[in-house]
Symmetry: C3
Subunit: 452 residues, 3 copies
């Protein structure tokens, strides 16, 4: 069942293909932000985004946000990574690889996940996450933070809380951006500047930290990381010693075994974050919901196939259009759609409630495009093909295609169409039936298969 | 379970009986709008309304809105109509009446509904609808658009998206009204005027439309309807050829048969819009929940007797007061109430949280009155009687009468009332018990039965 | 499942320990208000509060609010009270103590509850309540009104509707406060002042009231209470004659018997306010969820152990820290926390998303402190101990401790912590494991047991 989102103002007379508005370099990677405060369409959709490029042995320090986070692993083809989440009250079910038996009990931690290209990882608001690149090529991921979600009880700002480190540049540019956006809205709020201060331990008294952890004040001071200049993505000294790959593989096999039962096991009583699956590969071609060998494929992950999305109230869509293929003109009934282009490029057109074209342009790999709820949109791949990941603000986002075998046109009687458009019944019949494909359409110029 | 609504500002020092603020004439009918932007109480309630008068052979072109729509068929006594809805993914289960067998497969469409006076029709946000008058007298309907509903993720404006036609006057006056309202709120937003442009196909490129539908560009241009001057309600050339009445009757009988099971069949797994009933007759006297032969009747339709209302988060109330009868002073616990007077007139009084009278006046047929959540209200019919349809912003709206057999007064102990109002126990007993009727009260001047 | 709250603006650069902003004396008691309009943090949390001190034989007149209300009975040790609620449609299941058999049917009323120190009482929006002190010492209670709750469809103001009395001073200061707050926000709204007017009957015409209740106009005028100067808390003439204590005890025993089944009985079909338990003792030590004999205890009441909280979307937390003990640094994942200090004092520190300290100070008995969602907080009792009641804006509020046996630190791998904080693995192990207690920590200076 759908849930209310934050109230937004939607001045959408002109949409844009968005580049990140802010870029911060860290010791072992780069973070690029699409700040919600900077763009009218992100504010309307209530979604902000960030792309992290994590170098080899890079670690994105543990943090949490005031809103659900859906992350897609863009790259790399031969790269691997590990994600860990910190969920209150869940048991420490993993043990470290080192087998110093005497200290075994001290080396437990919560479950970690191996991630690879094409995975989405879902984290509820307030659940801390970290990402580690244990592969050889950069690990690139894009995270959508659904600030407009009901789980956020603060204001319409993505707030990041850090469990370690001292992201100085990051916080300074973020404060800058917030102050600008605020002063654009009102004259007040000018004198509010105070220096950002790092992680959440930095604001506590050292003595009370020492007493809380039962440690000495020197170690407590380390928690505050005041002299840390590494920013959000740090380089791990040796390989991160976490858990043996064999155990991961065991886990993988268990997962594989259980996958078919995920939905059946799901009921109100067992709904704890501890047991819910957080990861799902959305790029596996065999999972496509719509597949046209002459056009491409579409895969949808919602609360039915990834139940944690019921808490997050989000749906993910993976789209792959082969060269020159078309995704049917359609509109989203009950959600916005925030689209990130993962590969290739395509032409998109978006139409508002007054029938006006509010976007008509080429969208490139690495750009973000917002399609507001109910606005009509059509996409056509360039000769390089067109691939994207979209996040939709509803746990069961619904799409209504206007053309094709399952479409609004098909739903309406022939004679109705003849009268609506002042055309003959013959023409109405063509309008309804000429396109037999479903949502993903081949064109004369599109080729057999995915050969771009 | 109740859902959050849009945040509103409620300046309710004075309420009014509202006439439509905008009127647009079409080829075959008239549309009159109560725009939310124009009235403080509509903004507080988050509801806008429109009354369509559809002439003989008139067709209200297919459209959808960014919010749930609840329509009541006001008239006519001998009129009939047909409603069709376009629901994505639902099968085309109806076939046209013409039995050209060879083309049978091309004449399928989604279910249509016969509608008559006293029906309510419920449509979720983003579901396209059309209405056709196949009777001899005008078909009059009033639609409530619940813009404050959780299903709307845009802004607090009723946005109509048209699947055909070119409602020029309509869109121009709507844009006018929005710009006025916006400039009243802030200085910005002045230069945003762009010409409205018709239906959602009008904003797409003709070539991409042609390719999407696999039709020629001439027919694609017809979709855009640039030269159509008929506005939203158009005259059908001959009778609309949709489906044989006999099939409708079959369907009707099946409905009758199934009606008793509607509630039992309802469970989480089968909750698809395809099978949910969208129509319900709220005016049938036998369905009244409260009936007083000397006062009138009240009928409530909520998610228990019309399950689709659980998605819409709305309740409908039909009230009929015989001449001079009173509806008990009461307040709505968990919803606003937006009342449209369908016949007669009556005196209403509304009281706010400071005990101030914010409305005291005669309300006439054709007017709209908003009773905000928790505000106390009393209604008395004039000598012509008083009838209304009310939409309440909760799928299980609750009313607390202050007087009568089931009431707040009855709930409180006698001695408590004596101390609250500084009256004798004898007086407290009268206060509790003198009025034995439930919610619909007869008066000395009210007559036996409905004889106005 | 979590529900959306009202949208707020959170300017939280500096938090404060809050004293009431408004105090009104009545005939038999005192009301002290924390108005949401007056404090940035209350606006952000969407919660306002009031403390009523009800003298012997004092009656807080029946009223309801536009938002759920959670009341905690602070005092007195030897005091008792009675609460009554007015729930529409629920039967009058209680009979008065006087056994004048002939009039028995006229002396029925809805269930009333005996209340005592440590109880919480939950009331949905729009449900009228009254409180009576039938003990010998003052009855002191603090009510949290969750204005930001989804059940409130008006605006972000706590509105109180009175079913009797004429709270002149109260309404006048409330209007004053609202007008000030409104003019602070905008220039408009200046000329809107109209005299408050008492209870909800005051705004109706006397004749229509008389007709509605079928009483004479003299008695109808009494309902309006225009000359009543007693304000909200009035003195009852003799003892309030409601129901025999023996019947209460019978009811108590029945409750005790049924308590174990509360959760099991709970399902969608029986969810009526009539049968849901509204009261729960949160202070009984045996109900503590976390207990440390050298530190204190924590008790949580949420929708699992008090199902009505599912409607209210609230959680209550009772905390008792013995002298110098520490409650672990932690953050609330999915709610704000509004804390009222019931006894003693303690030092609190609160940290924001930029690692800045936004509160560091001693909080005293009788003060209110807001901890925004996701902000980190630590509490240490003074030598007098520290006790509080907190209301959290989620029906299953979750807390993530940063230190102790169940904590974020424990959830993370040792080697991860070593890299995050640039410490040795030995140090990381100490960080994880040195504090073995759960959430409530003893300190060297804290003593055995509760002896302050």
């Amino acid at each position: 069942k759908q849930q209310q989102r934050w109230q937004t103002e939607c001045r959408l007379d002109r949409l844009n293909a968005l580049q990140p508005s802010r870029r911060v370099e860290s010791e072992a990677g780069i973070s690029e932000y699409w700040d919600l405060e900077n763009e009218d369409e992100l504010q309307c959709a209530g979604v902000s985004a960030v792309r992290h490029t994590i170098h080899r042995r890079g670690l994105l320090l543990p943090f949490f946000t005031n809103a659900p986070d859906l992350t897609y692993i863009i790259q790399g083809m031969y790269s691997r990574g590990i994600q860990g989440a910190v969920i209150p009250g869940c048991p420490e079910t993993y043990e470290s690889g080192q087998s110093q038996q005497s200290q075994r009990s001290q080396q437990q931690h919560q479950k970690v996940r191996e991630i690879r290209e094409g995975d989405i990882v879902a984290a509820p608001a307030g659940v801390a996450q970290w990402f580690y690149n244990n592969g050889d090529s950069p690990l690139v991921l894009v995270s959508f933070v659904d600030v407009g979600n009901q789980a956020n009880q603060l204001d319409l700002t993505a707030r990041r809380f850090h469990l370690g480190g001292n992201p100085q540049k990051d916080q300074r540019t973020e404060q800058e951006m917030r102050l600008q956006s605020r002063s654009r809205r009102s004259e007040k709020g000018a004198g509010e500047r105070r220096n950002p201060n790092g992680n959440i331990f930095s604001g506590f008294d050292v003595k009370i930290l020492a007493e809380s952890f039962n440690i000495d004040t020197e170690l407590a001071r380390k928690l505050q990381s005041k002299n840390d200049r590494r920013e959000r993505i740090v380089r791990v000294r040796d390989e991160l010693q976490i858990l043996s790959p064999s155990r991961i593989h065991e886990e993988e096999r268990r997962h594989e075994y259980r996958r078919g039962y995920d939905y059946e096991e799901y009921n109100g009583m067992e709904e704890t974050f501890c047991t819910l699956r957080m990861r799902h590969n959305i790029d596996r071609p065999s999972r496509a919901d719509i597949f046209n060998p002459r056009g491409g494929r579409l895969t949808t992950v919602n609360s039915f196939n990834l139940p944690i999305l019921r808490f997050l109230q989000l749906t993910a869509e993976r789209g792959v259009l082969y060269k020159n293929a078309i995704m049917a003109p359609h509109f989203n009934l009950n959600s916005h759609s925030v689209i990130y282009i993962t590969r290739g490029s395509g032409r998109c057109q978006i139409v508002d409630d007054f029938g006006r074209n509010v976007f008509d342009g080429e969208v490139q790999m690495g750009q973000l495009l917002v399609v507001p709820q109910n606005y009509a949109v059509v996409k056509q791949a360039s000769s390089r093909g067109f691939e994207w990941i979209a996040v939709k603000t509803n746990d069961n986002a619904m799409r209504n295609p206007l053309a094709g075998r399952i479409s609004a046109m098909r739903a309406m009687p022939e004679d109705l169409l003849a009268n609506v458009f002042r055309i003959s019944r013959e023409q109405a019949r063509n309008l309804k039936n000429n396109r037999e494909e479903v949502t993903i359409f081949s064109t004369q110029s599109s080729q057999q298969g995915r050969e771009y």
